[in-house]
Amino acid sequence: MKYSTKELCLIWLDSFIGLEYKHKAELYKKLNNESKIKDFIQENKGYILEFIGENNYNTLLNSANGEYLNFVLEGLNKARVKAVTIDSEDYPEELKEIDIPPLVLYTIGNLELLKTKKFSIVGSRKNLPISLKIAEDYADKLCDAGLTLVTGIAEGVDKAVLLAGLKHERIISVVAGGFNCIYPKSNIDVFRKVCEKGLALSENPPDVNPMPYFFPVRNRIIAGLGIGTLVVSGTKKSGTMYTAEFAEEYGKDLFCIPYSVGVKSGEGPNELIKKGALLTDAPKDIIDFYNLEVKERKIELTKEEREVVAVIGEGLTHIEQIAQKTKKSAAELLATLSMLEIKGVVVKDGVNSYSIIKDNLEE
């Protein structure tokens, strides 16, 4: 991969994990027009020493050579990583508007996705079963409406969004830590698929191990990339809430799924709604909000299926209750419910209870 001198300078600078962001940014400003980095560092020793300390200064000086740079580039190539710097053409405009834009984005996958309209979906790892279905449904429909989804790489909502987005090949996963240190390891397969069919992003070089504090920092990128953010679930104190706060700060539209009282994983979104976030209970809300075009998706139901859906709509969600109301045998009912599940109209929500996914039905 070819990089310009400016890009190389940033990649070089970003490879020092010991340097703080503000120091890197400051140094970059100064280095911007210098072609001879080593000379510059030596000439401005007093000034640089003052804010990065002696150890860092020595490291910087010793590494200011082509050999070290090649070593860094080789590491990137080995991990099949393309670095997109803040001065690169591919760098997403949205991120330049946030207060701490990453200097370098390490990417694997389809960079074209960065130029599309993006929308972030975030949520908790621990969920009610229906939350995952909701996430999947929103992801599916929003992709259909032409949005590219942005999310993390965790279990739970993230994974549901990733899997749905992969089907449409419109998915960006922002990872905390380097690509060689994916956390959680159980999602490494999904990560590989994202690299293949979507886009994986990280602000850390490939071999950086993720620290717990990386995650909230990473969340600013998730919030920053999207035109809006959907919070599917989350407790009052969770990473999801950080993302929501960032989204608010950056002036993005914040959508939340409402929950009933007493659901732990619903306290976060409810809190946000209280503070003025937009309530959504169907993907249509978001699609209409942005005036997006939707592909016509009408699901035809048979008479029996309609009957079952109507009963569930009345609030009789347990299979026993549905059976009693519709006077159907267990065998018939199981078959009908399977069909409705396959058609994506109802989901199994809980052990033997079913819920309707809104907006899949013609009114």
């Binding site: 399977s338 994506g344 809980g350 052990v351």
Partner: protein, 503 residues
């Protein structure tokens, strides 16, 4: 004078003839047993000594040698007390009788009473095949022995009775042979499907599983009725045939779990070993190889409550018997094959805390905890479980009216019918039920219409089914079609089968 008495020893489920020779010589008084006898057999000389004395006979003060032939066969257990005592009396001329026609079995107590022994049924069947007609055995084993026709069984209570019988002084009454009747198996279960309130879908799943011989897994929180449903399985299984009953009785007899008043096992066995069970206790083993729980569950149900709590190795050991219907246990002492054809019924919580999917309580488990919990049951084992049902408790207040529930008897009729259809279909094959079908059979007997294929394909996409799920769904759909008396698998059958998938 040398005496010779016939007796039998057990090897696995086979009976083997053991001749007990007793010789009395002049010399220092002693009592020696030779012929690869284990401790219990060696100890029998003390029991014999007391029993003989307490029956009013005397122990000869001479050198006594007893030989158990064939000498290279290992003998174990207390079955040889009675023949040894009679042989001793004969050799010391305290009893004059012709014993060549008889087979003697029984353990002695010190006062001369006869005690119950294990494995009478397989011994009698083997001895009958070798031409023996007359048997003397403990009274407590009489019921069990009454199931074998074509022989004379003389149940005795004491050693004296045996002596009197053999010498012709006072004959013991012959045990009546009881013919096998399947109807005896009825009404013996203390549980019935009609007693299970609600749970219509779980009941239906049970019927499907039993009809096709599919293994079944209940998923639900503790206290939702998984065990009760599992206990209902034997009540809707077809009545045992004579062969099945005898086979099961043999195993129970060998393992010593047969009750004296039971005679033959009419009830389909329901075994529920605790999750701390060791592998040998489950599949069989031990120094003197004994049948394990899976063999005791032969022709019945093996219920594994809280399945993920069993040790991994124990669960994995079930894979081969689930496939073959028999278990071969090999030890230094020998190799024994026991039948083990059972329906496996497992139960588990949806997650470690048990609340996953509950509407009232929130699950406190992390996704990785749940995955870890589920992964305790390996994929290959899950592959052999075709039906999975979720079970939860419905509050009575939520149910408007109480439904009239079907009794086990009614369901059993349908199961019998469905089993018959399968028996006819697989008459040329080596398999009996739909669950036994391999890929070859599925191709041959489960042709799917294009419509069904399309449903399966969409389900695969939209419900994230695993590729392995496909053949399981088709097999279950075949069973459902059989229950509904349809020759072809229809869309409805596929759909219902999909609802029993692993989730």
């Amino acid at each position: 004078m040398i005496s010779k008495i016939n007796s039998y020893a057990l090897y696995g489920l086979e009976g083997k003839l053991v001749e007990i020779e007793v010789d009395i010589n002049n010399g220092l008084p002693s009592f020696e047993i030779v012929g690869l006898a284990d401790t219990a057999v060696k100890e029998s000389k003390e029991r014999v000594r007391s029993a003989v004395k307490n029956s009013g006979r005397s122990m000869p003060t001479k050198k006594i040698t007893a030989n158990f032939a064939p000498a290279d066969l290992k003998k174990e257990g207390s079955t040889f007390d009675l023949p040894l005592a009679i042989g001793l009396l004969k050799a010391s001329a305290q009893l004059v009788a012709d014993t060549d026609e008889y087979v003697l079995l029984g353990e002695l107590s010190l006062d001369g009473h006869l005690r119950k022994i294990n494995g009478v049924l397989p011994i009698l069947i083997a001895a009958r095949e070798q031409g023996f007609k007359n048997f003397i055995l403990p009274f407590d084993n009489a019921k069990e022995a009454s199931n074998v026709g074509g022989i004379n069984v003389y149940p005795a209570k004491t050693l004296l009775e045996v002596i009197d019988h053999l010498s012709g002084n006072k004959l013991i009454g012959k045990q009546e042979i009881v013919g096998f009747s399947a109807s005896k198996g009825k009404e013996v279960y203390d549980i019935d499907m009609s007693l299970v309130k609600g749970q219509a879908t779980a009941k239906r799943a049970l019927e499907v599983a039993v009809s096709g011989g599919h293994n079944i897994l209940f998923v639900g929180a503790p206290g939702t009725g998984k065990t009760m449903l599992a206990k209902c399985i034997p009540t809707i299984m077809p009545d045992m045939t004579k062969e099945e009953a005898l086979e099961t009785t043999k195993i129970h007899s060998v393992a010593g779990v047969l009750k004296a008043d039971e005679g033959i096992v009419y009830k389909r066995p329901f075994r529920s070993p605790h999750h701390t069970a060791t592998t040998p206790s489950l599949v069989g083993g031990g120094q003197n190889i004994r049948p394990g729980e899976i063999s005791l569950a032969h022709n019945g149900v093996l219920f594994l409550d809280e399945m993920p709590e069993y040790s991994r190795a124990t669960l994995e050991s079930l894979r081969q018997p689930l496939e073959d219907g028999v278990i071969t246990v090999s030890r230094v002492a020998g190799t024994v094959t026991y039948p083990a054809n059972f329906i496996l019924c497992g139960s588990m919580n949806p997650c470690p805390c048990g609340n996953f999917g509950s509407k009232d309580k929130e699950c406190t488990c992390t996704p990785s905890q749940i995955n870890k919990y589920k992964a305790k049951i390996s994929g290959p084992l899950l592959d052999r479980i075709d039906v999975q049902v979720f079970v939860d408790q419905v509050k009575f207040s939520e149910l408007v009216e109480e439904e009239k529930a079907e009794t086990s008897e009614e369901i059993k009729k349908r199961v019998n019918r469905t089993r018959l259809i399968q028996k006819n279909r697989f008459s040329g094959e080596k398999i009996l039920t739909n669950s036994d079908m391999g890929e070859k059979h599925i191709k041959k007997y489960c042709k799917l219409s294009p419509e069904c294929e399309k449903i399966l394909e969409t389900a695969y996409e939209n419900l994230h089914l695993s590729p392995r799920a496909r053949s399981r769904i088709i097999k279950v759909a075949r069973t459902i079609a059989d229950i509904e008396l349809c020759d072809d698998i229809r869309v409805n059958h596929i759909l219902e089968a999909i609802s029993y998938r692993h989730q």
